[in-house]
Chain length 413, copies 2
């Protein structure tokens, strides 16, 4: 029998766009002993999670609960529960995670329509609305904050148009929820998916979702699968009209989260503790205060990067406050810089995907990672490593520029 | 903005068949700060989890890793990755979780064939083998340990027959893995799913799975879905030949767990810490020693229940050591007894499902919950509550009978 030692966990400053550092209070909450899933003390915690999620999503929706899986589990739960074979789904793509929405929708048999714009830009809402009028899709699925490019798509106009045109708007808000405004009701979003491992300061492994009555109506109109046995033995009809996945069947998940508590999965106790504490931290700080804090640290970081002499990637008009993309200077190996940052400073930043691989670095300012010490440290560390790589940077300017931003505000973190 | 207080988490003695109490070392491991998913320190932990899982599954399979979701996520990942529309799947059902295998297989379009035997019994392997020969299914899916009835199906003969008849054997070992022998290679099991929240002494939220080359071959023979976009635009062909789920696509999950580390989801960091520590605890104790311990406490519990004058439910020949089912005496309200146990003693035991609802109690002896103090406490508490309910029990006999079992062994826990 092989023996394995306790693992060595080095201390890291995690400045990627997720997973980011977890608030110590959340870490402590996960050390709390287990409760049974139907213990009244536990169902009370589940109910409080729902209530707090509604606040963070800014919604009066009845349904707001986590799917037990990583963020894409939440995305798949929504799309799998809505899409029937042949349904038209329009997906405006402006980065990697738009492609993920496409892949999932296609797997569930959607008739896919895409719009694409260059990575680093977002869409003019008008362009999307025109396409909705032309195609008349059942669903528009779009990413709110694209971590792959650091851009954020304005949604309000699109939401209004979808409501008027009777289209369902499904939004991946994994990178934005808890760090910048996601106004579910105000923007007319029908289903929205968040992530715990980004601006909620909790570990990866849960996907908070919310959806409104328009979505629920579609889900409940689909052929019901009885627990343990399907009602329809005709395979073709079955696959066509029923929700295929059991794990992601929102009609069953909402029964589990309702007062009826119909047994589905066994809720992931410790992750619920983590989410509960992460949400408590957000409501204690205040949503608007939290958004301001994210914006402040983003400004400090972005100004620092530019003061160093580096270029930000992407249209700054469309920038998301939680991710800052930096163009890798000519002749510099992006991965070697990241390796040195990790090895010598214990700082983790990210590369990117597809067309941007090796071309940009992505630095997150999310949740608990979004603090003065981290921003100043990543600027100082990056400068040191770039100088070693022979890059001509403006020595000492970056930290100074960030401090200038901080000195304008009374915030201490 | 609503404020929510830190939740009140009462101390419980959890003697259900899961989720059970989590080992304090596992709780502490979850308090460890986060690492990035591609941090070498983290991928090293992922590799160690794979190595340890292979020991616990008793397999030389290349693939053994957790699916990020609760146990049924692991079951769905295996079935969704194997089943193509119209595939014959044979499911011998002897309790509630056989019905779950049926539901999931049917959702993915399988041609379902079932065998049923009374709840409380298991199948003569011969009966299943005869059916395999008759139906020639692509897959036999079966539960190893049925928590709903407390029974355990012997698998070795069935495994051998499946191998000879070129059928894939998929086994739900959620209730048995880590508590009693699950000999994946020795019994010729092709794909096996475990659960963290039972005998692995970790919280719910991960589903360890393993599968062999026979399974991998089928998975890789299916139409490949490119990351972000499917290769085949013909919807009907697409749905027929590709794995439908993205989240449960084992061909992508194994790429993520391979040296290539192809990005899929963001691995659930804290749950991986928990699983790593839970597996370390098992290997430190020793697999066979652990099985003996579970058997010992089962015996103490079962003898105690009988000494009290209650009847065990189910054929004792087929009993699983990790769950003990007790027939509710005539005229007793099963739920009131459970409520009183919870309220007055902080002890949680379970009811059952379907035909057994209100008819039996289910008491787990799993993982960290499987300790002398818990077994003696649940016997004492149950006796006290039953006396209050007017049941004529043999006062004091239960604890004595359990102590008699313990006194034969030198074990201190």
């Amino acid at each position: 029998m092989m023996k394995i030692n306790q693992p060595y966990i080095p201390m890291r400053t995690i400045m990627t766009p997720g997973p980011v550092e977890v608030d110590p209070r959340v870490l402590r909450a996960m050390g709390t002993p287990i409760l049974g899933q139907f213990d009244p003390a536990f169902t009370n915690i589940m109910n409080e999670v729902m209530e707090m999620l509604k606040q963070v999503f800014k919604t009066k929706n009845r349904w707001a609960f986590p799917v037990d899986g990583t963020s894409r589990a939440g995305i798949e739960a929504v799309l799998a529960s809505l899409i029937e074979k042949g349904d038209k789904v329009l997906i405006p793509i402006y980065g990697r995670f738009g492609h993920l929405l496409t892949e999932i929708s296609e797997r569930y048999g959607a008739e896919i329509h895409t719009l694409e714009c260059p990575w680093g830009e977002v869409f003019e809402p008008k362009m999307i609305i025109e396409e909705i009028k032309k195609i008349r899709p059942k669903i528009v699925a779009i990413v709110h904050g694209e971590t792959s490019t650091g851009c954020m798509q304005p949604l309000e106009e699109i939401g209004k148009a979808c409501r008027e045109l009777d289209t369902l708007l499904v939004v991946d808000a994994v990178a934005s929820l808890g760090g910048t405004n996601v106004d579910v009701d105000g923007w007319f979003l029908d289903a929205v998916i968040g992530g715990t491992q980004k601006c909620l300061s909790a570990p990866s492994g849960m996907a908070p979702i919310t959806y409104n009555e328009r979505v629920e109506k579609v889900i409940l109109s689909r052929k019901k699968v009885e627990r343990g046995i399907a009602t329809d033995k005709d395979l073709h009809t079955f696959a066509h009209r029923s929700i295929i996945s059991n794990y992601f069947d929102l009609s069953q998940l909402q029964d589990y989260w309702s007062e009826r508590r119909l047994n589905h999965h066994t809720e992931a106790t410790s992750m619920i503790y983590a989410l509960h504490e992460g949400l408590r931290l957000i409501l204690e700080e205040g949503l608007e205060e939290r958004f301001t804090r994210h914006k402040l640290h983003e400004q400090a970081l972005a100004n620092g990067i530019e003061a160093m002499g580096l270029k930000l990637f992407g249209n700054r008009q469309s920038k998301i406050p939680t991710v800052t993309c930096v163009t890798v200077p000519d002749g510099v190996d992006a991965d070697i810089v990241r390796q040195q940052l990790l090895q010598e400073f214990g700082i983790e930043i990210a590369g990117s995907f597809g067309p941007l691989q090796g071309k940009i670095w992505r630095i997150g300012t999310m949740g608990h990672s979004c603090r003065k010490e981290n921003v100043l440290f990543v600027l100082a560390g990056l400068e040191a490593v770039l100088i070693r790589q022979g890059v001509n940077v403006n020595r000492g300017e970056a930290v100074q520029a960030a401090l200038d931003v901080y000195s304008k505000y009374a915030m201490t973190v």
